[in-house]
């Protein structure tokens, strides 16, 4: 068994060195394809991450009708708390709202002089459960809130939520459509390069078949070659992406860097990196199977 493995690896590396140029081309093309896919994965990962951070801040504000008696507030709180999707809520009286506005205006709070707190509507600040913090689910909660007659208006940063959800969705969709196309391209390229390798060794393969070498003995080195090409291609893609990630971040203007300091621009997690490497290997392997099915028939 050890002899077989040693011999197989020796033959694989001899094949690869003997067809160095075509192997380098294949590895390069796999690297470029995987880099495109990984870049989209990284973008989607960071946007999702950012969205998750932002999602935690998503809340619904339900403004009470003016003149709603304070005796009804407790019952309203209890009723709202029971709605599906509501995690926590806080009653904001007109006085609290005035304090908040003063705090926000800071030195310019004198602008509020002469304005009575009663002008401002009371409201409920509603925090939603995690699974309800998206454009579809949030609408369900809003629809329930709208049925409560004491509420005048419901606000939830509707446009932002919808735009962001659509953006993430498009990015994920692009990532997978592109991933699918690149997948086909990689299998196609790997299989064609391996066909070239196999063709250049046709004489040797014929002699092997002539001598009674088993199909596995002939094919396995080509499968290993596909695996190695995929692994090296995937590895190079990860390396380039890492350099790109580091380089871009350090070359940004200081103002953008300062802004980004609040939003962490992360590199792909180790698990995703391993999946990309495995993906490269699987694609390379699949390409070599396609190639061997075409040109390694026993004759």
């Amino acid at each position: 068994m050890i002899f077989f493995l040693q011999d197989m690896m020796r033959r694989t590396f001899r094949n690869m060195m003997g067809n160095l140029f075509s192997n380098l081309i294949t590895i390069g093309i796999i690297a470029i394809s995987m880099l495109i896919f990984s870049t989209f994965t990284l973008l989607a990962y960071n946007l999702t991450n950012f969205f998750n951070l932002w999602e935690d801040k998503i809340e619904v504000i339900a403004y009470l009708k003016r003149g709603t008696p304070s005796s009804e507030v407790e019952a309203l709180l209890s009723k709202t708390r029971l709605l599906e999707g509501v995690e926590t809520l806080r009653y904001v009286s007109p006085y609290d709202a005035m304090d908040f506005m003063e705090m926000k205006l800071g030195r310019q709070k004198n602008l509020l002089e002469g304005i009575q707190p009663a002008v401002l509507p009371a409201s409920l600040e509603i925090q939603l459960k995690k699974e309800y913090r998206n454009s579809t689910k949030i609408k369900e909660v809003v629809a329930q809130l709208k049925k409560i007659p004491q509420f005048e208006e419901i606000q939830y940063g509707q446009e932002w939520v919808e735009t962001f959800s659509v953006l993430i969705h498009i990015l994920r969709l692009t990532q997978w459509i592109l991933g699918g196309l690149l997948l086909i391209a990689i299998v196609f390229i790997t299989s064609h390069t391996l066909q070239l390798t196999i063709s250049s060794r046709r004489e040797e393969i014929e002699v092997m078949q002539w001598m009674g070498a088993s199909p596995a003995f002939i094919r396995v080195p080509f499968y290993v070659e596909g695996l190695i090409q995929g692994l090296l291609g995937g590895g190079l893609a990860i390396l380039f992406l890492f350099l790109l990630h580091q380089g871009l971040f350090f070359n940004l203007p200081p103002s953008i860097q300062a802004w980004l300091a609040k939003i962490p621009v992360l590199f792909l997690p180790a698990k995703t990196t391993v999946w990309i490497l495995l993906g490269g290997m699987i694609l390379g392997f699949f390409g070599s199977i396609v190639a061997s099915m075409r040109v390694l028939q026993y004759k």
């Binding site: 002899f3 040797e204 002699v207 078949q209 009674g212 026993y298």
Partner: protein, 233 residues
């Protein structure tokens, strides 16, 4: 009753250009037989051998070699069949970019022999065929006759139980032909079955082995084996 090592039943082979290479060939070759397939160039000898080592499929008919029904649809054990046989073809099928020894060790290594053993066996067979001084030379530097001897050495190195040789002495001089025939006779006396296709009647007459005459793809004579001449190893 001895079971035939090769059985061909009503075998026909017609190429797409409608050229009929074999027509209703039926024969049996028994273990330990030395059989000449004799006939002029283009008579169907090579096609018959290529069918026996599964390099070609017959258009119809049944072929059994070593107990394997090689004409059955989906027959996948070609490599097992070839491991038990030695093949010498007219085009030698040598690896031009390798040395004489490497060509022979390669044949052993692909069937799982350790490298050291392969090298030792290769040097021994090269010595038998008078090629010991050319062991490190590349195939390119050899004459046609020497290349033919390397091809014979490669076919014999595994001590096959069945040797299929297509004009193995075609490029050899008289002296070397006799040397090769001595080696084949020795192999035959050890129990191997040898099928030797040739167009040289002089060579056939020199030995009292079974002769199957073939002309225009049809067997004229020699269908039946003389069981008295079968060696049992």
């Amino acid at each position: 009753m001895i079971e035939a090592i090769i059985q061909m039943q009503h075998v026909f082979k017609t190429y797409p250009s409608q050229i009929s290479a074999l027509s209703d060939v039926t024969l049996e070759i028994f273990p330990g037989e030395f059989t000449f397939i004799a006939g002029p160039s283009g008579s169907g000898k090579s096609t018959l051998l290529r069918i026996l080592y599964c390099s070609e499929k017959p258009t119809s008919g049944e072929v059994i070699v070593h107990g394997m029904h090689i004409t059955q649809p989906g027959f996948k054990k070609i490599y097992q069949l070839r491991q038990a046989m030695g093949i010498v073809s007219q085009d030698f099928k040598l690896l031009k970019d390798r040395t004489v020894t490497e060509n022979i060790t390669f044949a052993l290594e692909v069937t799982g022999h350790p490298r050291e053993e392969a090298k030792w066996k290769a040097l021994e067979i090269l010595r038998h065929l008078g090629l010991e001084e050319r062991e490190s030379d590349s195939i390119f530097s050899l004459s046609a006759g020497e290349q033919q001897r390397v091809a014979i050495a490669r076919a014999l190195v595994n001590s096959p139980s069945l040797l299929l040789a297509d004009e193995p002495t075609g490029n050899l001089d008289a002296k070397m032909t006799l040397r090769v025939m001595d080696i084949l006779t020795d192999l035959h006396q050890k129990g191997s079955t040898i099928v030797f296709a040739t167009q040289f009647t002089g060579l056939i007459k020199r030995y009292s082995y079974r002769v199957i005459q073939i002309l225009n793809g049809q067997i004229l004579d020699g269908r039946k084996a003389d069981t008295n001449k079968i060696h049992q190893g």
